[in-house]
């Protein structure tokens, strides 16, 4: 296509149009966050308007919102950090020592992420109620750790399998302890895996709704529950409120896709397909 610059330009234009077409609905909500509530529910959609910050300011001043947003950050980052630390140890063992049952455990962990969320949360709910862990912070965060482990383990084991055994051998022969070998020699080799596991697990927890809705309570609620109850409580839905929350909550995700685009493939395929787009 290099022979025809205008053809290439047309091709590029088509690509941009497709990309924008997929983004349109999101853009419409982002615009809605800056409209007055009258413009928002007008039967004739308003395309040109004077942007107002009122919605954003109103949402940010809502005491619940900041608490929930803070909890979104704490729960997603906290649980993923624990999950990755724990998963790295196991992934190292699975990759280097291949104990009996490795494949079976990996398989079971993978299948736990393929069950519909209500089927997962049902027994946990019964268990938490019996143990008194429902609506507690540690119950919530530990659940999300378990939620993040399978993916972290798969992704890290995939990357560790790609690191040559020579690294371990060289480190051990030169007098390094096993812990030194693991953390100082092998760990730096799987940095891309760590980044991918980190980002995508955070995204999954960040987006999660049902577990938080059922198991969480006062003090452990995240934004998605606020969104859902905002629509579900009946009566008139406060759309400018919803639009402003959506805008604030989805912006970091889009930013993450932009910054970490290299890891998108491995992140969205559970670490089973590696490569770059």
């Amino acid at each position: 296509m290099n022979a025809h610059p205008w053809r290439q330009r047309l091709y590029h234009l088509v690509l941009w149009v497709v990309a924008l077409a997929f983004f349109m609905p999101v853009l419409w909500i982002f615009l809605a966050a800056f409209k007055s509530s009258g413009e928002l529910v007008s039967p004739n959609p308003v395309f040109l308007f004077r942007p107002t910050m009122d919605n954003i300011i109103r949402v940010v001043q809502e005491p619940n919102f900041l608490d929930y947003l803070r909890m979104s950050f704490i729960l997603s980052i906290g649980s993923v950090v624990i999950a990755i630390a724990v998963a790295f140890l196991a992934a190292y063992s699975f990759s280097r020592y291949r104990p009996t049952g490795t494949n079976f455990i990996m398989f079971l962990l993978l299948s736990t992420r393929m069950v519909p969320a209500p089927a997962v949360v049902l027994p946990i709910f019964l268990m938490y109620t019996a143990l008194g862990w429902a609506k507690t912070f540690h119950g919530m965060i530990l659940f999300y750790v378990m939620f993040s482990i399978p993916f972290s383990l798969w992704i890290l084991k995939g990357f560790l399998d790609g690191v040559s055994l020579r690294y371990d051998e060289t480190a051990l022969v030169n007098g390094g302890s096993r812990l030194h070998t693991m953390f100082r020699v092998v760990l730096p080799q799987v940095k891309p895996g760590l980044v991918a596991a980190f980002i995508f697990n955070i995204i999954f927890v960040w987006n999660e709704f049902l577990f938080n809705y059922i198991l969480g309570g006062q003090g452990t609620t995240m934004i998605p529950v606020l969104l859902a109850t905002g629509v579900k409580q009946g009566g008139m839905t406060d759309w400018s409120f919803i639009a402003a929350i959506s805008f604030i909550y989805m912006l970091p995700l889009i930013l993450a896709i932009y910054v970490f685009q290299r890891y998108l493939l491995v992140g969205m395929t559970f670490g089973t397909v590696r490569g770059e787009v």
């Binding site: 993978l110 709910f125 482990i149 049902l210 905002g230 995700l253 889009i254």
Partner: protein
């Protein structure tokens, strides 16, 4: 791993011994043969407490008539919950509806995604490619709850922008989410919108896995495009595509949040799929026994999916090793 031993006088051996004396903790770890098991320990604890125990719990409850809100104690009824599910026509309707939803949404996203994936194949020199791909891939990382919420606004019969366009184009307004005949199709359309980018991503990955030399050879031989796709691209790319389709199928089976927010399963139960039905039985009707039995069935289906997925994955890996 085999312990390497040195003659005592080499400098390497000396530093090795020295390092070991310095770190008694690390040394103890090095000596023990339980090291691999210790590493797995934390994950195993999580696995047992959050997976094995709840699973047994679920299995147990599924043999009881157990309503959470009723004062009556749980009653042991053996397999009656399962027999009820087997006999109930609603459950078969539910599974059928879920299956047709899965087929249509996965089929739609796959077709559209493959077409657009091919389109984006030569996008290497696209100005602002990173931003364009970000916009393109955004739908699949959004919270399903937010998507379900904002589509209610977009598809609203009175002030939704979708109706503004349908009225301009065909002069008619639709109640996309409230109409019995439209809600199912609308749910599929939104799901296809959300997941087509994923299939584009997988198609691009599949295309990237085709060796450049084979493509160049096909180019030189002027092989027609259909043959090129069939003989050059598919044999190399089909595994990644299959993994993508399988992951989509599994995810479509799990769909809960999106219909819960967008239509709440309605109107009637036209958009109620397995996930949502489970949620309603368990957390709206509080029929824990019945919900557990249904959960066990979905669990078995999920395990079947996982086995197929791993089968394809390992098949691909063995094939890659042979080459």
């Amino acid at each position: 791993m085999a312990q390497t031993t040195f003659p005592a006088e080499t400098p390497a051996a000396a530093s090795y011994q020295q390092a070991r004396r310095r770190l008694p903790m690390a040394r103890a770890l090095d000596e023990t043969r339980a090291f691999p098991v210790i590493l797995i320990g934390p994950v195993l604890v999580f696995f047992i407490v959050w997976n094995v125990v709840p699973l047994l719990w679920l299995l147990g409850v599924s043999f009881y008539q157990y309503k959470l809100t009723s004062a009556r104690p749980a009653e042991y009824i053996q397999f009656e919950n399962f027999i009820d599910i087997w006999r109930a026509s609603e459950v078969w309707g539910l599974l059928g509806r879920t299956l047709s939803f899965m087929l249509l949404t996965v089929g739609g996203a796959t077709l559209l995604g493959m077409l657009l994936g091919f389109l984006f194949w030569g996008s290497g020199k696209l100005p602002g490619r990173r931003l364009a791909l970000t916009l393109l891939f955004t739908p699949m990382v959004l919270p399903p709850v937010a998507v379900g919420t904002f589509y209610r606004l977009i598809l609203d019969p009175i002030f939704g922008i979708a109706n503004f366009f349908t009225e301009k184009l065909i002069g008619q307004r639709f109640d996309f989410l409230g109409n019995k005949d439209l809600a199912f199709a609308t749910t599929i359309a939104v799901d296809v919108w959300m997941w087509t980018p994923f299939m584009i991503l997988m198609t691009l990955a599949a295309l990237a896995s085709v060796p450049k030399a084979e493509l160049e050879a096909a180019e030189i031989d002027q092989i027609p495009w259909l043959k090129r796709i069939w003989y050059v691209i598919l044999p190399n790319g089909k595994f990644i595509l299959m993994l993508g389709i399988l992951l989509r199928t599994i995810d479509a089976f799990k769909t809960t949040d999106l219909p819960y927010l967008m239509t709440n399963g309605g109107p009637g139960n036209t958009t109620e799929f397995v996930g949502l039905s489970l949620y309603r039985t368990g957390f709206e009707a509080f029929q824990m026994g019945e919900a557990s039995a249904l959960a066990i069935i979905t669990l078995l289906i999920a395990i079947a999916f996982a086995s197929i997925y791993l089968y394809v994955l390992s098949y691909r890996e063995t094939r890659a090793q042979l080459q």
